[in-house]
């Protein structure tokens, strides 16, 4: 019977009640090699049409959140479906050591994220002042965004066990691994840093630690 996989966690962690799974399917759990894996059985064909992908993804998120509130998890990307229990066992036999290594490393940690976006004001200005002015404004905005990220790193990185920044099309993304108990303090420090003009900032989390999982060497 096909199984939709949500996430894995260390076994024997106490958990609260879980919400219904995707499309109302019950969420089951199975222990294997020191791991607990969360899944729903029989995701039938009728449950997987384009209009339901979005709502199903949100239901998937709620299950992850319910487990993540109690313990560290490694989520599967939605929707990951295995053909049945035998295939799941084979997968866990192959990956269990890797999952356990990272779950132990990030047992008490969460991921916070900051998305620093160019707000588009410079683009509107470009319509009035031409391409050269637009490029100049754009450079200023990007420099301001980088400057803000440097301030954020100076404020939050001392509380973080790991930090990573990536340039994306819309701006800059920063990721921090912090202890759960330090989330509020990190957010407060970020809140005290107003973004510069032309830049918008969203700090989100706590999320499961995913950006820092490393498959190299596995």
């Amino acid at each position: 019977m096909a199984m939709l996989l949500y996430c894995v966690a260390e076994a024997a962690r106490s958990l609260g009640c879980l919400p219904p799974g995707v499309q109302g399917l019950p969420v089951s759990r199975r222990e294997h090699l020191g791991l607990t894996i969360f899944y729903s059985e029989d995701p039938s064909r009728d449950r997987w049409s384009a209009p339901t992908v979005r709502s199903s993804a949100l239901e998937f998120h709620r299950v992850l959140e319910a487990v993540f509130n109690s313990t560290a998890i490694i989520p599967f990307r939605f929707p990951t479906i295995v053909a049945g229990g035998e295939e799941l066992r084979e997968h866990l036999d192959e990956r269990a050591n890797y999952y356990l290594l990272w779950l132990e490393k990030f047992r008490t940690s969460v991921q916070l994220e900051a998305l620093v976006s160019y707000s588009g004001e410079d683009r509107q200005a470009a319509g009035l002042r031409g391409g050269k002015e637009y490029l100049r404004r754009r450079q200023q905005t990007m420099a301001a965004a980088r400057g803000w990220v440097e301030k954020l790193e100076a404020a939050v990185a001392p509380l973080a066990t790991d930090w990573r920044t990536a340039i994306v099309d819309s701006g800059i993304r920063s990721f921090a691994v912090v202890e759960r108990e330090l989330v509020a303090e990190c957010k407060e420090r970020a809140r005290k840093l107003p973004p510069p003009a032309g830049v918008s900032v969203r700090v989100t989390g706590p999320w499961p630690v995913t950006e820092f999982l490393d498959l190299n060497g596995y």
Partner: protein, 77 residues
């Protein structure tokens, strides 16, 4: 000159603290473990990940045939 205030958002639930649905979808669709040997098909711009052709659903048969002729994508977290 300062812009807008820094928005601080919880990841608990879309709609609470203005966590956007887009951010949640970005996480569940793009973050996390991809099972090695899985097949990735795309439906309405959304990548769907499956392990084992037996589990792929009939309604996706056309897409699966297309994927079966394409080189596999590498696994990554």
């Amino acid at each position: 000159v300062s812009g807008q205030a820094t928005k601080i958002v919880s990841s608990a639930e879309p709609g609470e603290d203005q966590l956007s649905v887009v951010e949640v979808l970005d996480h569940v669709l793009n973050r996390g473990v991809v099972v090695r040997g899985s097949v990735v098909i795309s439906l309405a711009g959304v990548d769907l990940v499956y392990l084992g052709l037996d589990a792929i659903l009939t309604s996706f048969e056309t897409a699966v045939r297309h994927v079966a002729t394409s080189p596999p994508k590498p696994s990554k977290p």
